[in-house]
């Protein structure tokens, strides 16, 4: 088994600005209905939570090694809040196809936000052996 990782960060202020400038169009183009629901805190949309989800989508794009000529809409990578409060990734459409083509197995995602930025790490199991060390005696 090998591993693949992707990491990204997003500015919370940039997300707030997008909400101010583009409102619902920005939300609908980037986030799924579940992500929008999960990003509410006390009935109000929390830009920190949206930024964390955006970072997770981009981290997943890096992990999937999406090429510049490959179209993977943001909705194809979905961050889903679990009952315990942590999050998981669900891949759809082209993102799921890329994962299958790469032989990816389990996915793990972790998100955080602090000091005006949100960050995310995505890790995936691969079939290939990515170890770079050997056990020579």
């Amino acid at each position: 088994m090998g591993l693949r990782a992707g990491i990204d960060m997003a500015s919370v202020e940039a997300v707030s600005e997008s909400l101010r400038e583009h409102g619902d169009r920005y939300l609908q183009r980037v986030y799924t209905a579940r992500e929008i629901d999960d990003s509410h805190r006390g009935g109000t949309l929390d830009p920190q939570r949206l930024a964390a989800r955006f970072a997770a989508k981009e981290a997943a794009m890096k992990m999937l090694r999406v090429a510049g000529d490959e179209a993977v809409p943001w909705h194809a990578i979905e961050v889903v809040r679990q009952p315990g409060g942590w999050v998981a990734l669900e891949l759809h459409g082209r993102a799921a196809e890329l994962a299958a083509e790469a032989g990816l197995g389990e996915l793990a995602v972790s998100i955080a936000h602090e000091c005006g930025y949100a960050s995310a790490v995505v890790i995936a199991e691969t079939r290939e052996d990515s170890r770079y060390w050997t056990h020579e005696r």
Binding site: S11, A14, Y26, R29, V30, E58, A71, V72
Partner: protein, 82 residues
């Protein structure tokens, strides 16, 4: 069209440099545009040119340069006129 695109890039792409110092084919990501800024750029281009980028065009290379954006907008406008 390129002048209008440059104006929108200047307002929304959050470049680290003046867009007018860049060639039409210069890489906007290399010039500091983040993936999140590319979303704002896309939405602003849609407003300005009255088009909508379909899912099939949501790829990095479409927003990579002024020339690439012009090509994509030209294609969308042609399709709309057909």
């Amino acid at each position: 069209m390129n002048a209008e695109i440059r104006k929108i890039v200047a307002e929304h792409a959050r470049l680290a440099v003046d867009v007018d110092s860049l060639a039409d084919d210069a890489d906007l990501y290399q010039a500091g545009m983040t993936s999140h800024a590319s979303v704002n750029l896309m939405l602003a281009l849609e407003d300005a040119f009255d088009v909508e980028f379909p899912d099939s065009m949501l790829k990095r290379e479409v927003f990579e340069s002024v020339a690439a954006i012009a090509g994509a907008l030209g294609q969308l406008q042609q399709e709309a006129a057909a």
